[in-house]
């Protein structure tokens, strides 16, 4: 299988607080186990990088999770997945990335998509809101 090209990412740390959005499988902000599991990267889950994907060529992506810069984009994505029977969550969480919070992120792809690298516990602690899809 061809090895994907390594992505040239502009990896940043938040210089000011801003929100990102990601699908989750609970509406309860106190459901730590479900939220943290949903915020774990493939690497944190102990899964190997998926063959043929940029996880193989770009470790930052393997160690991160996808999110969107806008709630609208995250909702549209989650609804599209639900509508074809491949759901990724029942709700969308707003996660506030703050400076000094051990968050790193890089935009790539389309529609305000970014990969966020952070500990799943810190991401769960940063959840500010959860809305249904």
């Amino acid at each position: 299988m061809a090895r994907p090209r390594r992505l040239s990412l502009d990896i940043q740390e938040p210089e000011r607080s801003f929100s990102v959005y990601r699908a989750v499988r609970t509406d309860d902000p106190n459901d730590a186990a479900t939220l943290e599991r949903g915020f774990q990267s493939s690497a944190a889950r102990g899964l190997p990088p998926r063959p043929g994907s940029v996880q193989v060529s770009t470790p930052f992506i393997y160690n991160g999770v996808s999110a969107y810069h806008s709630r609208k984009a995250a909702l549209e994505h989650a609804r599209a997945r639900r509508d074809i029977g491949k759901p990724i969550g029942t709700h969308v969480a707003e996660i506030v990335l703050q400076p000094g919070g051990d968050f790193e992120y890089a935009y790539w792809g389309d529609d305000g998509h970014l990969t966020v690298v952070a500990d799943a516990v810190k991401l769960r602690e940063a959840v500010a809101d959860i809305v249904p899809i």
Partner: protein, 126 residues
């Protein structure tokens, strides 16, 4: 159009400008992991980067395309003739992509027939 592939957790695995490349990558990733490959999804975006609302699975896009033998024959005949335009067989009419598993074949080249006739008329006679 632009394309992104996501896994079963909604994590992006690739971003593409070419649909052919995106579909090939989706098939390869799905085939490489039979446990979770079925949950891979390709999302379609407009050129301005906004989501179209369309999402396709590996099953939706089907197996790799194969070019029909008639296309190969027509190409070889054209090349053997020296590649002259006047001698170029009108293979576009017969060129089809045979999509195994799909009921309807798609034209390989969507060139209007009247354009082909205009080309033939304009071409120098041998």
């Amino acid at each position: 159009m632009r394309y992104m592939i996501y896994d079963n957790e909604g994590n992006a695995l690739g971003s593409f400008r070419s649909r052919i490349a995106a579909e090939a990558s989706l098939r390869a990733m799905a085939a490489a992991d039979s446990d979770t490959g079925d949950d891979l999804v390709m999302m379609l975006y407009r050129d301005d980067g906004t989501f179209t609302g369309r999402a396709l699975t590996a099953d939706d896009i089907g197996p790799p395309v194969r070019i029909a033998p008639t296309v190969w024959i027509a190409n070889i005949a054209w090349a053997a003739s020296g590649g002259r335009r006047a001698a170029r067989p009108n293979f576009n009419r017969y060129a089809t992509l045979i999509l195994a598993g799909r009921k309807q074949a798609e034209p390989l080249v969507r060139q209007p027939q009247h354009d082909l006739e205009r080309e033939s008329a304009a071409a120098p006679r041998a």
